[in-house]
Symmetry: C2
Subunit: 510 residues, 2 copies
């Protein structure tokens, strides 16, 4: 049935279009039914098509009979430039891929074709959010074998474009969960300075106070079209980009959009998600940082080990050589948490390799070391030494300046010029003693209450970490915010949920 | 934050409200976030409250800053009568009940409190559709023990009002899947005529060509407020009502809304759904008809038996005595499928007990017989005889006329006056032989293509069923429709998917 397009000027992830009640009746469609929308060029070629859900209007003039009301997201997908265009709407039945989802829920192994159908339908929006949720929970409860995960990975990677950057492409990835894990800002310039290609794509923070893309954005731009990314990489061997802009493995994004609110990240999807995104960037060799412990995806080392063995194996089957490292998640890497303050800590280390944060230097050079060994730049066991040399020599700093400039930032940036705050609260030790525990969860909460990640200059500085001896009255923690009210709230939270625990301190009074 | 209400005049199940981008930013909310809306009376009392999801508008004037755009469903829940009222909006975090859902997904047993929280949040809309989907798939994959199912049932029943109709309340229910199962139209008048109370609530068709409520609606009204239902029941001992209007166990409806599109109906929810709705109507003794076989929820007798044993046990724990009957689902009950034609077949049997459909008479009186025995009206093993007596004596017909009148229909209705069609196609046997198979699926499809259930007068008449000997040229199937085009389509489908299979006939040619 043909409709005239009407832009509603509304934004919604719900993939909904609105038609008149009578039109819906004529189409034999009811609210909630799935439809295909096609916008044809005058030549008859398809200009845009998408799948959506019908809602109906009850005659308020918002949508007249014969009109289809479109949210911005659908409007763009249909490539509708002017106000009134003809859109063809066709009622769809439940996609065949849902039968495959039901089979997974019943504990059956899915065929390659079934997996391809599910992933294709995720990409084009043919599966409803509740159907994708059913798939995710099906995978969480029933699992998937290696063959299925390999198929999932391939299907997800091929849901978008795959870049060909040659045979020697390196990368580093973290499964997350540790505050202040800004190691990519150190590793990328080290690896690129050594002459290896490292096309680092990263995420913006979703539930954490800062993602690598957020910190890099303090120093330079991170959203570039594919061509510009390739140009930067060819010229400088490295770059740090926001992956979201590149539309890598769009099926993975469609799944993540449901996984996040369900707080569900089953192994098969976690593995397929990481590897498919790396495949899209043409990565052939990688180091995977797997923080284990409270607050991460792997509460115990055993959980992390199980994941690592599976990840390595599946990566190999896909043609990616992976080294997986189980790392400690007991406290932040370095001291800074928040977009700008993390960029500042990283640049400080690049500028002052011998004085910067020990944990940041150690972890960054260790991970970089494995990549250097995989790339044949150092013999086995000597990679970290080379990484430290590159850092100490200033070559990593120079490479970082080069990358910052290529990405439109100021290459002359110095750590002192990276603004944080401007509002600051200094928290003092109320007694003397040793710090024995750090609560990452509270650190993240404080940073977020202070405004992270949206307020780039907000953040926290965990001045003393585990094992440190402090005296009553020492400043042990700083909170930065762009807003006095938020700062007050963050201080209030700090005082009631102390993230630094002292030896002999009561943990909780009930 | 306070907003001025604006009715959008749109209908959507999505539980979405629309606010201006800047307002969302000020609230620290993003599209997809969960909010609580409260509408206060001038006295300060709460007039209406509900939970919804935020969408944002991009400044097209649909929603101005300070306004909240409301879909009809939310508008009604907030009890907003005039155009501009103040609505208070508050950002909500993920409800605690979602943690319980995650525990179920991980295979843990849920506590009574956790189940109550989940059901409460389903009722008030605090759980997102994808979260409810996660719960349903969690139950499908991990199951629930009897204690959990009892708790689920209690929680669902108490999500709405529970009628008190005394100690002796009877009912009959079917798990569905057989076309033309119009037995309630015979059972209710038999039981009520015997002096037992039977407050039959039934559904309208969702995926089938006709629900009991659709057929009853051909004869009388079915949507009544609670007070009127009670009045009819007290006066006449029976009635056939559309349960949807009574808002019984609203949590169950919220779950069904997600179960249906997921085509998921795990035992714990199936049992809790049936029993909770019966609890709401005060039922104490019931017969459950469990059709088993292809196209039903129980492909094998074993599946049906497992369900029946569990159902009976849980009903007993809730205080309901249940007799479960595994019945055949191999072909329609009687011959008619479709709202009006089924009503006609039932009234025909009531008017002509000795000539009406044998299968309809046998099944109805058998089920009624068990209820009569449970109610002490007949000794064990003699219930069906009494049911046949009541039917043959005309008492059931008189009771049905009484009920039809009480429900606002014409008590003098006779089967000939129930209109069907008006367009009819007569399908003839293309060869002589015995009918050995009936494909229920195709019968349902044909009835639906002809216009069922929306077009009450559409339907099919399966003139010959299994075991019948027919001669070439005999009219063996009739299709009725209110629309010539639909009738043509239905005939086309009949010809390519013959629902009556003859002995020695090829099943499929590939």
């Amino acid at each position: 049935m043909q409709f005239t397009s009407k832009r509603l000027g509304l934004s919604s992830d719900a993939r909904v279009v609105i038609i008149d009640d009578d039109d819906a009746f004529a189409m034999n469609a009811k609210p909630g039914d799935r439809i295909k929308l096609v916008h044809l060029k005058e030549t008859g070629e398809i200009d845009g098509e998408t799948v959506a859900i019908i809602n109906t209007a009850t005659g308020t003039g918002l949508v007249k009979p014969g009109e289809v009301g479109l949210y911005d997201e659908i409007w763009e997908q249909l490539n509708l430039s002017s106000k009134k265009k003809t859109v063809d709407i066709q009622l769809l039945s439940k996609p065949k891929s849902f039968e495959a989802i039901k089979r997974k829920i019943k504990g059956k192994e899915l065929t390659t074709d079934e997996i391809n159908e599910i992933i294709t339908d995720c990409t084009k929006g043919a599966l409803l959010p509740i159907e994708i949720a059913a798939f995710i929970i099906g995978l969480e409860t029933q699992g998937a074998n290696d063959r299925e995960v390999v198929d999932l990975t391939n299907a997800m990677a091929h849901s978008g474009e795959i870049l060909d950057l040659g045979e020697e492409v390196f990368d580093k990835h973290s499964t997350g969960g540790v505050p202040g894990n800004k190691v990519s800002l150190i590793i990328v310039p080290i690896i690129a300075a050594a002459g290896l290609l490292i096309p680092k794509t990263s995420t913006r923070a979703i539930t954490s106070p800062s993602g690598t893309a957020d910190s890099m954005e303090v120093l330079a731009k991170v959203a570039f079209p594919k061509e510009k990314v390739l140009e930067i990489l060819r010229k400088h061997n490295g770059g740090i980009f926001w992956g979201g802009f590149l539309n890598l493995a769009p099926a993975d994004d469609a799944l993540i959009q449901i996984e996040k609110p369900l707080n569900s990240d089953p192994f098969p999807l976690m593995i397929a998600s990481i590897i498919s995104k790396k495949m899209c960037m043409g990565v052939k060799k990688m180091v995977l940082d797997i923080p284990c412990g409270k607050g991460t995806k792997f509460p115990t080392i055993d959980d992390g080990r199980k994941f690592a063995i599976r990840f390595k194996d599946i990566a190999r089957k896909i043609g990616i050589e992976a080294i997986c490292l189980l790392t400690s998640a007991s406290q932040p890497i370095g001291h800074a948490v928040g977009p700008a303050i993390e960029a500042r800590e990283a640049i400080y280390l690049l500028q002052n390799p011998e004085q910067g944060s020990t944990s940041l230097r150690n972890k960054s050079t260790e991970l970089a070391g494995y990549l250097l060994e995989m790339g044949g730049k150092a013999p086995e066991g000597k990679g970290q030494d080379l990484a430290i040399d590159i850092l100490n020599s200033g070559k990593a700093l120079n490479k970082m300046r080069e990358i910052i400039q290529a990405q439109g930032g100021n290459p002359d940036i110095s750590w002192e010029n990276i603004e944080i705050g401007p509002f600051v609260a200094e928290m003092k030790a109320t007694k003397s003693g040793f710090i024995t525990e750090i609560e990452n969860y509270h650190i993240n909460r404080i940073a977020k209450i202070a405004g992270c990640p949206a307020a780039h200059k907000a953040g926290v500085d965990v001045i003393y970490k585990r094992g440190a001896r402090v005296k009553e009255g020492d400043v042990i923690f700083k909170i930065y915010s762009d807003n006095e009210e938020r700062l007050r709230e963050a201080v209030k939270y700090y005082n009631s949920h102390n993230p630094q625990r002292f030896s002999g301190m009561t943990i909780e009074k009930i």
